[in-house]
């Protein structure tokens, strides 16, 4: 048995002249939760449908070490949770969940115990005789999970399963999906356009853009070490500042409108213009008092938003056109600084992400 549940090699897919996916390789490790993340039209859904067998790509699809490129969906050991669940409205919860097992001619008593097992897993055992139309969105979601998991698939595919739910239930369901993953010990491939969902859920995130893989990594890597500007902007909030890079030998320098910062040279960096991503929470901000300290620079607050657990300031940096978003964690009794306040800012150059412009 291979250590990967899915191995994709040289996968591409085109609709007419439109390239949905351009030659990508991807391995999904056994028992991990891998998210396919990206804006709409990036090819994430197409990629999932290729794994499920609903689209025929060029390239090679291995599932559990076996070539599945030409297999129709019904012969693949994967099951899918559809975006709008696609629960069968003419069947009740029990029959929906039992659907896959019945097709495999599983004995009746096994069906009964297996359906009970997965309904327990998704905590819906008391709902087995309900009609689908009698379920809430969250319950329908659980039934969809149960209907897929009862077949003990090698890989469970989830196509934006939370998109149709409202915010509160969505958060709850995310934790549920995590729990169900742990208890079912199956590989999950999860498609979403929501970076928060990806961060909370994933062992690894695959960021897709325009039919190609932008970056693969665990959530922390994706957040703190984006390799491209697209990746930096996609995860969380960030400031993009134009600068110049100068490197010689083993030392490098990033020149920004408000200071010069040391930055170790990388292969991908050549001397010249660069974009620097600076996370708002890495900039410390305080009311200006006296002369600026070493490495600090001054600015004026343009705009303040108090969000409760954090305060976001938009600060216009003095003697430049740069406006920086800075985030501060308020403590009880602290006052947010009103627009117009002169402030002092300090950056942490080690958190900079420098990308050639």
């Amino acid at each position: 048995m291979s250590a990967n549940s899915i191995e994709l090699t040289g996968i591409s897919k085109a609709y007419g002249n439109l390239t949905a996916l351009g030659k990508l390789d991807l391995n999904v490790k056994k028992n991990e939760i891998l998210t396919l993340l990206g804006p709409s039209g990036c090819g994430k859904t197409t990629l999932m449908r290729i794994i499920a067998g609903f689209e025929t790509p060029t390239g090679k699809v291995l599932i559990d070490g076996k070539d599945a490129t030409k297999l129709p969906p019904e012969q693949r050991p994967v099951n899918m949770v559809f975006q709008k669940y696609a629960l069968f409205p003419h069947l009740d919860v029990f029959d929906n969940v039992a659907f896959g097992l019945r097709l495999k001619r599983t004995p009746k008593d096994v069906i009964k115990s297996e359906v009970s097992r997965v309904l327990d897993l998704v905590q819906l055992s008391t709902y087995k005789n309900r009609w689908i139309s009698e379920l809430s969105g969250g319950q329908a979601q659980r039934v969809a999970l149960a209907r897929a998991l009862v077949n003990r698939p090698a890989v469970l595919l989830l196509d934006e399963p939370l998109a149709a739910l409202d915010l509160k239930i969505r958060h709850h369901m995310l934790n549920e999906i995590k729990r169900i993953h742990e208890e079912s010990s199956t590989t999950f491939v999860y498609v979403t356009h929501d970076q928060d969902e990806a961060m909370i859920l994933s062992d690894r995130v695959v960021l897709l853009n325009k039919g190609g893989i932008e970056q693969i990594g665990d959530p922390e890597e994706m957040y703190w070490a984006p390799k491209t500007l697209f990746a930096a902007k996609f995860f969380g909030d960030t400031n993009i500042v134009d600068g110049m890079y100068e490197g010689s030998g083993s030392a490098g320098l990033v020149k920004l409108p408000f200071g010069k910062y040391a930055h170790a040279p990388k292969v991908s960096l050549t001397n010249g213009p660069v974009n620097v991503s600076i996370r708002p929470e890495t900039i410390s901000i305080s009311a200006a008092q006296g002369a600026p300290q070493e490495g600090a620079f001054v600015g004026t607050v343009n705009d303040t938003s108090f969000i409760g657990n954090r305060v976001i300031y938009r600060v216009k940096v003095s003697d430049s056109t740069v406006e920086l978003k800075c985030q501060q964690l308020p403590t009880p009794g602290s006052h947010t600084m009103p627009p117009g306040t002169m402030v002092m800012l300090t950056c942490k150059p080690e958190s900079f992400v420098v990308v050639a412009a």
């Binding site: 609903f54 019904e74 899918m80 409205p89 003419h90």
Partner: protein
């Protein structure tokens, strides 16, 4: 005010039907008030008429046969429509619909010419073909709008869970679209039962119920026409009623089975 209008509207709609029903039970041959007493003599007369029984039988055969053909063709066409997109879909939908807009007269003549070209003797078969041509667009049109809401991911889900395309159709698609199909099939029967214009052209020596009623009216104003009309009306209402009953009973049976489990 609105309520008054509604009453008036209902009166306008149903008063003629009410009158026919009333006079079909009239004990005298007069078609005017005052009402002189209740009797079933016109029903007796009509059921004793050989012509009436034959034409009723013919109507039922034709309605049944054209409903079967229409349902099969119409379902196939609707299934194709569900999968089509964009230009092809609107063209196909238009071509399906167009015969409704065509005058029945035109269809009748066209069919007569066609049948004589291919040497098909005019009979109940030609009437069935004519009726199918007439009912098919209605069938597709009434099914199409409902099936727009059929999510193709139902079929994909079935495939994903291990069903072959044919099994997915039998286990998922057909049960879901079944009630819609059944409703349209019933509409087909009702349309066929009182189709007149095309039938006049394509019939040979056979008479259907509407043809019989017209020929009776041309001979003399015979009150048994009222009885014949009421029987037709009763059949139409009956068909719709049975359909409704079958549907609720099916649901109830499933629920009973479930409770017994």
């Amino acid at each position: 005010m609105t309520r008054l209008f509604t009453y008036f509207y209902m009166l306008f709609l149903y008063a003629p039907i009410g009158l026919i029903v009333l006079f079909s039970f009239h004990s005298s041959p007069s078609l005017s008030l005052p009402f002189e007493g209740v009797s079933l003599r016109w029903y007796e007369a009509i059921f004793n008429s050989y012509d009436f029984r034959t034409s009723l039988y013919n109507s039922l055969i034709v309605a049944g046969a054209s409903a079967v053909v229409t349902t099969i063709l119409g379902t196939l066409s609707a299934l194709a429509l569900m999968r089509m997109k964009g230009r092809a879909k609107s063209t196909f939908a238009f071509l399906n619909f167009a015969p409704i807009a065509m005058p029945g007269l035109f269809l009748g003549i066209a069919l007569v010419i066609l049948f004589s070209l291919i040497n098909l003797p005019r009979s109940l078969v030609t009437i069935t073909i004519g009726h199918t041509l007439f009912t098919l667009p209605f069938f597709v049109e009434s099914v199409r709008s409902r099936l727009e809401y059929f999510d193709l991911s139902f079929e994909e889900a079935a495939r994903d869970l291990g069903a072959s395309p044919i099994k997915a159709f039998w286990l998922v698609t057909l049960p879901i679209i079944g009630p819609t199909i059944a409703g349209a099939a019933i509409l087909t029967v009702a349309l066929s039962l009182d189709e007149f214009l095309i039938t006049v052209f394509v019939t040979g020596t056979d008479t259907t119920l509407p043809l019989l009623i017209l020929s009776m009216i041309r001979r003399a104003v015979d009150p048994s026409i009222n009885a014949a009309s009421v029987i037709m009306l009763g059949m139409t209402i009956g068909i719709i009623g049975v359909a409704g009953l079958v549907m609720t009973m099916r649901r109830r049976r499933i629920e009973l089975e479930r409770n017994g489990e």
